[in-house]
Assembly symmetry: C2
Homo-oligomer: 305 residues x 2
C-alpha cells in the first residue's frame, strides 16, 4: 500500500554543543516520509513557499516518495525553525518559528489520495488533522502527532484528533500535560480510554511505551548510541517507520505493533546520527534490519524456569 | 551465601506532591538490605546514634537480616536527610543533610565478616569503600555506588573505588558527569574500560543499562507504574536485588547479569510504591516472581523471521 504523510516541510537552523548549521531540510513530514519509505511507498502532503530550494526536494525522489502533494503556494515563504540543544541533547530551546506558508495552509487531498488506507498527520492544526482524516474513504491505520503549542491553545481539538485516529504518537512531557498525571502508563491508558486504538508515548533516548485498547502494554528501551549528532526529527522518524512497517505488513495486532515499535526506535536511532535528514537520505533497509537484530541482542533476556 | 551491605542508616523527611512524612527509616543500606533479603541472607554494617528509634530496626529482624553490624556510636546522633520531589517525581531537591554519626564513621568488619564473598558498598566515603573492600578475604561480587557529593569532592578516590569493585552502580547524571560525555553508553563503557567488570547505569523510571568487560551491553526499560508514592531508595533497592540475586545463584555471567538487572528493576518498582521502606517490609518473593514474569510480558517482542 501507500502511506499518506501530511505535515510541515521547513528550513531548519540547528545549534548543538558540537555543530551549528543553517538551511537544513526539516519539518515534521520530512523525517517521517524518509523513514516510512524504507518500508513502503509514500505520498507527501505539504506546502512550501516561493523561496524553497527545490534541489533539496529532488533528493527525495530517489527514495520512492511521491511529491506531487508538495505544492509551492504563490506569495508565501517556507516555514523556518531554529533550535539550540543542551549539553546532554535531551532538552532544547526553540530560537524562532516563522510560520510562513503554514500559517494559513488548508489543503485538499490530490485526486485519488482519499483512497489512502494508512496515513500520518504530523504536528499540524488539530482541526486540519480531523478534516483530512475524515476525508479518507476507508482508513485502516491513521496516526496523529501533536506539539505543546496545540495542546496549550486547542486542547479540545487535540483530544478530538486523538479520538479520531487509530494511533496517537505523543512525547512524554506532552502526554503528562494532556492527561494531568506524572505517570506515563496512566497517561497512555487515558488516551486509549478516550477512544484511540493505540497510544504511543515517545521517551526520547529512553525509548517508547504504548498502550492499546485490547489491554496490551509494551515498553521498549532506546537504542544505546555513543554519538548523537542532532536529535531533531527523531520522533517523526519513529512515527514514519512505525506506520511504514504496519503498512508494509498490512496487519494491526499486538505482535506487529510491538515489532513496529522496535522498527520505530531503530530508524529514530539512525535519524539522530546525522544533521537534519542526512543519515536517512542514505540509509538502506539492510542497515535497518541489521540494527533491528542488534536491538534484539541488546534487550533480550532469558527468564530461566 | 550472605551479602554484606555497608552504608548509611538514616531518618528521612520526604515531601512529595501528595505526601509529607517525617521520621521514616532511610539511608542507602536500608532499601538495599531489604531488597537483597528477598533472595539471600544479608548482614548490615552501619552506624546509628543514641537517638535512634530502635523499634524501627526490629522490623528488619523478621526479614532475615543480621543486624549485629549496626552499632550505636555513643555521643552521636543518627544521620538525617530531607528531600522534596517535583510534580513528575523525576527530580528532587535535598532540603538538608545532617551527617551526625556518619561524619566520622570508620568501622572495622565484625569477626568473621571478612569471609563475605559478595558485598555492596552503598554511597559512602570512597576511601572507606576501598578499605572495606580490601579487607575482604576472597571477594567474588562486590558493588560500589556513589553520590554527586563524592564525585565533586573526591573524583579520584571515587574512580579508585570503581576500579576495585566488580560492579559499579551509578545514576545517569553522575555517570555523565564522571565520564564527561552526554552518552550513557559511552559513560558505561568508559567505567568498564577503567577496570570494573560491569557498570550499571540507573535511568530512574526509564530503567537501567549495563556494560560488561566481556563486551556485553544490555538495556532494560523501567516497569510502567501507574502510581509512584516515593522514589527514595529505588536505586539502592535495585542494587540490593541485583546483588542478592547474583549471590543466590552464585554465577556471574551475561545471562545472570541480565536477569539480575530485571530483578533489580522489579524490586525497585515495589520500593517506590510505598513511603520509605514500607512496601519492601511486607514484600514476598512470590510477589517479586509474579512481577518479574509480568515484566517479561511487557517487554518481550517477537522479531519474526
Amino acid at each position: 500500500m501507500t502511506v499518506l504523510i501530511a505535515g510541515w516541510v521547513a528550513i531548519d537552523e540547528i545549534k548543538t554543543p558540537f555543530a551549528h548549521v543553517e538551511g537544513k531540510l526539516g519539518g515534521s513530514s520530512t523525517p517521517a516520509a524518509l523513514a516510512a519509505a524504507l518500508f513502503t511507498e509514500v505520498r507527501m502532503l505539504a506546502a512550501i513557499g516561493e523561496d524553497f530550494p527545490m534541489d533539496e526536494l529532488r533528493k527525495f525522489e530517489g527514495r520512492g516518495i511521491d511529491l506531487s502533494g508538495v505544492r509551492v503556494e504563490p506569495g508565501t515563504t517556507t516555514s523556518r525553525w531554529g533550535a539550540e540543544y543542551s549539553f546532554d541533547m535531551n532538552s532544547r530551546e526553540t530560537l524562532y518559528t516563522h510560520l510562513g506558508v503554514n500559517e494559513s495552509w488548508n489543503p485538499e487531498l490530490p485526486d485519488g489520495w482519499a483512497a489512502s488506507e494508512t496515513a500520518i498527520f504530523a504536528a499540524l492544526d488539530p482541526g486540519l488533522q480531523v478534516r483530512l482524516m475524515k476525508s479518507l474513504a476507508s482508513p485502516v491505520a491513521t496516526m496523529v502527532d501533536t506539539i505543546k503549542f496545540y495542546i496549550d491553545t486547542q486542547p479540545e481539538a487535540v483530544r478530538e484528533a486523538m479520538r479520531t485516529a487509530h494511533f496517537v504518537s505523543i512525547n512524554e512531557m506532552e502526554a503528562r500535560e494532556l492527561a494531568g498525571t506524572p505517570s506515563i502508563a496512566r497517561a497512555a491508558r487515558g488516551i486509549v480510554a478516550a477512544g484511540t486504538k493505540t497510544a504511543i508515548v515517545k521517551l526520547g533516548e529512553y525509548g517508547a511505551a504504548c498502550a492499546s485498547s485490547d489491554g496490551d502494554y509494551f515498553v521498549a528501551p532506546g537504542y544505546p548510541l555513543e554519538n548523537v549528532v542532532d536529535p531533531t526529527g527523531a520522533g517523526d522518524a519513529f512515527a514514519g517507520a512505525f506506520l511504514g512497517y504496519i503498512d508494509s505488513v498490512g496487519v494491526v495486532d499486538a505482535v506487529h505493533i510491538r515489532r513496529a515499535m522496535i522498527y520505530g526506535s531503530t530508524v529514530a536511532s539512525f535519524q539522530v546520527e546525522g544533521l537534519g535528514p542526512e543519515r536517512l537520505l542514505t540509509l538502506t533497509r539492510e542497515e535497518v534490519e541489521q540494527r533491528f537484530r542488534e536491538f534484539r541482542m541488546l534487550t533480550h533476556y532469558d527468564i530461566g524456569d
